[in-house]
Symmetry: D2
Subunit: 139 residues, 4 copies
Amino acid sequence: MEEKIYEKVKEHIYKNDKLFEFLGAEITDMGEGLAEVEMEVKENHLNAAKICQGGVIFTLADLAFALASNSYGTLALAINANITYIKPVNLGEKLVARAQEFHKGKNLATYHITVFKKDTKEKVAFFEGMVYRLDKPFI
Amino acid sequence: MEEKIYEKVKEHIYKNDKLFEFLGAEITDMGEGLAEVEMEVKENHLNAAKICQGGVIFTLADLAFALASNSYGTLALAINANITYIKPVNLGEKLVARAQEFHKGKNLATYHITVFKKDTKEKVAFFEGMVYRLDKPFI
Amino acid sequence: MEEKIYEKVKEHIYKNDKLFEFLGAEITDMGEGLAEVEMEVKENHLNAAKICQGGVIFTLADLAFALASNSYGTLALAINANITYIKPVNLGEKLVARAQEFHKGKNLATYHITVFKKDTKEKVAFFEGMVYRLDKPFI
Amino acid sequence: MEEKIYEKVKEHIYKNDKLFEFLGAEITDMGEGLAEVEMEVKENHLNAAKICQGGVIFTLADLAFALASNSYGTLALAINANITYIKPVNLGEKLVARAQEFHKGKNLATYHITVFKKDTKEKVAFFEGMVYRLDKPFI
């Protein structure tokens, strides 16, 4: 049985995107136009108010966005992202970022990523990302 | 001579926000409603395409945003951020994020952060951030 | 039987917001945290490229946003809106804007509005709106 | 003396974009990558709270955005816009929307539009707009 394109993209991104290591993130779902990534908030993710830094939440969503938007095997470059923060996250809490395709056109595509707490399902953030799609292979 | 409030905020954030360490970032300017932060792109900041990960650029801008929005000594919580990516950044390049206040109201304030390459001054990203201002001391 | 609060809000907004008249828009659904508005694109809604002007699409979404965010009977002020355009709309086409609450907190709330073509269901735009909620009656 | 391309674009948009008529807007400045548009808030621009409707403010900024982004004579399609509202506007007040180019690339360009009150210079809104640039003439 042949490996799906999105499986190759998943392995390539997981192995090469260095932010997975910093976040301690794992990919928990992946398909065409969708992806899910999880992490646990550690000491090195905290801001001066002792809650999870906004850039950490953004980066988790961004990993799901990168996976989903490149899942077809052609290169997608992020051009805009808009994040709304709903609720603070504490040390030790587990976060899930789930990316779903809102629309894919020839040159542009848009993804919606919801970040929530794994245990309580409470919404943490909403991230909308737009990519410019190139007609060249991702890997 | 008494220390300014924004100097205390600067020291507190620099010492306690763990993302300074991950980015290897330094604060190069700070005042009421403004801040500037710099970093150099290292191996651990790269994505699978071997360029600086979008979350790293966002986080650098976010640090400048946090410094500027908390500079008055009262607590400011980020509620929304919108980032537009202009140009990719390579390993070894130095980035500067400069935050300036666009408007400060009683409950809400907005900051504009421009990220550019230190050497060439080329624009890398534009980040607009909004905070909800609490009537309580930052530190 | 007593009239629901959201019914009063609906009547008040429909009667007093002058943009309903310019768009020729009708309210087709309304409840707590949700609303749907429809219109048909007329000559006076076109831009120089002879397609529906972006401000018209935004305003239709904005009416659904205003209805949904004020539906609890307490005043909600728009502070930010982000719109992504998916597909152009031609003269004579019918548009639907459907607003749903993403999150409602004490002081802030966020709404997602999808604009689509009534006949084909094709997505036209996605609008995310944030409000600041005041502790005072809408009407 | 030959007419500049941006002068032709200005005349074409002013004559054909029907929203100029609804807003009662005039173009007060125009050049490569920049434009300024003005209007006075009338009865038919008000929302249910008797202040200027958000869609009206957005549309004024959008006209300046359309002028600036099409000023080179090649077609630019709006793909995203983000607006932050700073201050309410009353009946009879005059608004100015000034668009400036933040960055112009081969396929994408970004514009910053500031909306302010003509008399007091108070900021009313900030609008960031992104276009997809086509390699075909605007007119």
